[in-house]
């Protein structure tokens, strides 16, 4: 019987010290503000808005065109470029056969959204 009582005390301690505080800290956590948009979604929207600005003939096909040999310093720009890659269209590449000499464009995400030509 003593063991049952001791176990009941341990279970109550677990309930009071660990389970309930965890539950309360989560249940009463302030929700994010209504206008809150997380960083990844924000960047996704930025990229989509950029894509919407392109002329239809510029969006023939798009793919990630960075290759290991032409990679810029990914350590230096890791997070921004990673988010760009995550958004799946950091590089807009006109792949129409007749347009193969057009410059490739890469979105550079430093500061504001811009893009530059790769010769």
């Amino acid at each position: 019987m003593i063991r049952l009582v001791l176990l009941a005390i341990v279970l109550q301690a677990m309930f009071v010290v660990q389970l309930v505080p965890n539950l309360l800290s989560q249940a009463f956590r302030a929700p994010p503000a209504t206008e809150y948009v997380d960083e990844v979604t924000q960047f996704d929207r930025q990229i989509e808005s950029f894509r919407n600005q392109l002329r239809p003939d510029e969006i023939v096909n798009y793919r990630v065109a960075l290759r290991p040999n032409e990679e810029i310093d990914t350590l230096r720009i890791s997070f921004d470029i990673a988010k760009a890659k995550y958004s799946s269209c950091p590089v807009v590449l006109n792949e129409k056969p007749e347009a193969k000499n057009l410059p490739k464009r890469i979105i550079n995400t430093y500061g504001q959204l811009t893009f530059k030509m790769i010769p």
């Binding site: 019987m1 063991r3 049952l4 001791l6 176990l7 009941a8 341990v10 279970l11 301690a13 677990m14 309930f15 010290v17 660990q18 389970l19 309930v20 965890n22 539950l23 800290s25 989560q26 249940a27 956590r29 929700p31 994010p32 809150y36 997380d38 990844v40 979604t41 096909n61 793919r63 990630v64 960075l66 290759r67 290991p68 990914t74 350590l75 890791s78 990673a82 988010k83 890659k85 995550y86 799946s88």
Partner: protein, 466 residues
Amino acid sequence: MNGFLAIALPALAGALGTLAVLSSRPRGLTASTLTLVLGSFLGIGLSSLLLPMLIVALNGWPKWYPLAEAGLLLVAILFSSWRIWKSAVRYSEQDLIPRSWPATIAMALLSVISVVTMLVTITNSYETSPHGDWDAVQIWNYHARFLYRNHGEFYRNMMAFSDHHPEYPLFLPSTIARIWIYDGESTLPSAILGGLFAVGSALVLAVALALTRSWSSGLLASAILLSPSWVCSVAGSQYADMPLSFWMLASLAVWALANENNKLRIAMISGLFAGLAAWTKNEGLPFALLLVLAISVRECWTTGLRRAWPVAFAGIVGAAGPVLLNLWWKSLCPFTNDLVAGQTGTFTKLTDTSRWQLIFNNGGSDLLYAFGLSWLFLALITLILGVRVRPAIWGIALALVLGMSGVYFVTYLITPHDLDWHLRTSIKRLAVHLWPMLLLGFFGLIRPLEERLRSRGSQIDLGNSR
């Protein structure tokens, strides 16, 4: 709705298929519950194997993929139902409901609070980071997008970026991509999968221990499993750590269903779960190896070498499919794993005592942080209930925890990354992999409350301890 079908169909096919494979004799409802839970996750795991192969073979997934897959799964459901019907399995209800009401209800209450806390934590995490935490954005959900977005050889572009670990196993990306193929792209499935596997771990732990020890042991273990806030936050991070820990637990819990007639089938399913661990994270590869080794050694110890070979072989056959698929995927990638590629001065690192010290120091403090008061409660429970050492499969759980800790220790010793950074960013998550197995082994050795009270001549009928 379609996204629900992407999970429900393979889960149902897996549950009924596993029940059909293992239901060779009359069985209790507790055993059937464990079979159904394990089987449903097995179905979800196996359904993730086909998509990457199809994408590589056809340069993208064909439009008919979801329809064909759903059709195949329906056939599997019907066939398994027919097999179960034909086998005329009789169920007894006597062992489903525990009779040790007061103690069991108290522990069930704690268990429910743990699960609710975990679900609230996941909801909170989803509100602030719907794409998940760092690794989820950079690795798992990122790979899922490449598998899902079907632009010809799009998946190959994923392999151009070494810093996103393209060679990593694909269980989570493939499962998320499957749901998107059924229902369109959304951030919700990744979050739901984290919760599903966490609840699955608690359920499997509770029922496996109920079947082999007692309901109070099972429910108490599942309450402790999810009680540390760190475990809940890992479940909400959308990382692959929670599914990995589930596969590790499942590969051992399935042995609760073993008997002399079905041992080979259990060994094969156990191997399959270990293979799915390897298909989820690289840590699963050494685990699959250690699991097959552990069940072979145990079988050799208990029945002799001659009868151990078939069990070992069945385990290897079970694990082979997902492990080979994982290795095949790695062979397609132009990059080797960062831990392998960056190896220099390995022997010097292995013998550098300052690295040993750093690992022990960080490991100790991080494990204390991650599981907090749970260690204290486990120690008190041991003192109160006592230990009953007897040959059981749960001894293997503790051996595997030790074995995997050794693997992780050596990995840290030889890591090419800055050791302090590597420890800070990963050791607490690695501990979550082993936490359910540790609890399974621990409560497998602790004397059940019912047995302890009965041995003292209690007049209370406390039911079904084994």
